[in-house]
């Protein structure tokens, strides 16, 4: 079946602009995670949804970052007043349930470049 999809694949924006990044999960996956991967580093956790609610947003770096999942499926990561330091690959991962053995499946990512 279809995997996790993310759009756009690339986004170039100017400093101070607002951007939205979209994640479409695998059908039936209730858990959804956002990670950020800066150049030369491993991905870092941003936020986790179980269903519609954000169960853990401790990884969001500041209040310019916000994410929603209104119907428990598609999620949007929103970044206000973008800064050059926000440039990174933003990854979405989903898994079937809350079990520790469930695998997180990653999307291809959105490469964000802030000029």
């Amino acid at each position: 079946g279809a995997g996790v999809s993310q759009t756009p694949s690339n986004k170039v924006t100017e400093k101070g602009k607002y951007v939205e990044l979209r994640c479409d999960p695998i059908s039936g996956h209730t858990a959804l995670y956002w990670y950020r991967q800066s150049l030369g580093q491993g991905p870092e956790f941003l936020i986790y949804f179980q269903g519609t609610g954000a169960a853990d947003d401790s990884g969001l770096p500041n209040d310019r970052f916000f994410a929603v999942r209104p119907e428990g499926s598609v999620s949007t990561l929103k970044i206000q007043r973008t800064e050059r330091g926000d440039s990174a690959v933003y990854l979405c991962a989903t898994k079937r349930g809350q079990g520790k053995s469930d695998t997180q499946y990653f999307g291809p990512g959105t490469r964000l470049t802030v000029l």
Binding site: G40, D56, K95, S101
Partner: protein, 114 residues
């Protein structure tokens, strides 16, 4: 809090020779451990996972890893490297108490020489 240390940022091997990627973890509870691979301009792919069953875990493409609780290690090995194994490898830990969010190591870049 959970954390992961990958002891080598770069590993270079010759094709046909063994590969060893070292990983140590820190976790407050009984963790799950994973190895993911990332090929250039490709998404993260799961190689294998440990979730409290057998301590020797076999994954895809001939890779395996052994969970050693006493050493808090989860090293990844492959008996014979192939050119297609050139990629970045991430050791990852997760805990149910932390919502199963993944904590990644810094990555090990593998170069395979012909």
């Amino acid at each position: 809090a959970q954390s992961v240390t990958q002891l080598d940022s770069h590993v270079s091997v010759s094709e046909g020779t063994p590969v060893l990627l070292r990983c140590n973890y820190s976790s407050s509870y009984s963790p799950s451990l994973f190895w993911y691979v990332q090929h250039p301009n490709k998404g993260l792919q799961l190689l294998l996972k440990y979730t409290s069953a057998a301590t020797l875990v076999k994954g895809i493409n001939g890779f395996e890893a052994e969970f050693k609780k006493s050493e808090t290690s989860f090293h990844l090995t492959k008996p014979s490297a192939h050119m297609s194994d050139a990629a970045e490898y991430f050791c990852v830990v997760s805990e149910p108490a932390a919502g199963n969010k993944l904590t990644f190591g810094g990555g090990t870049r593998v170069l395979v020489k012909p």
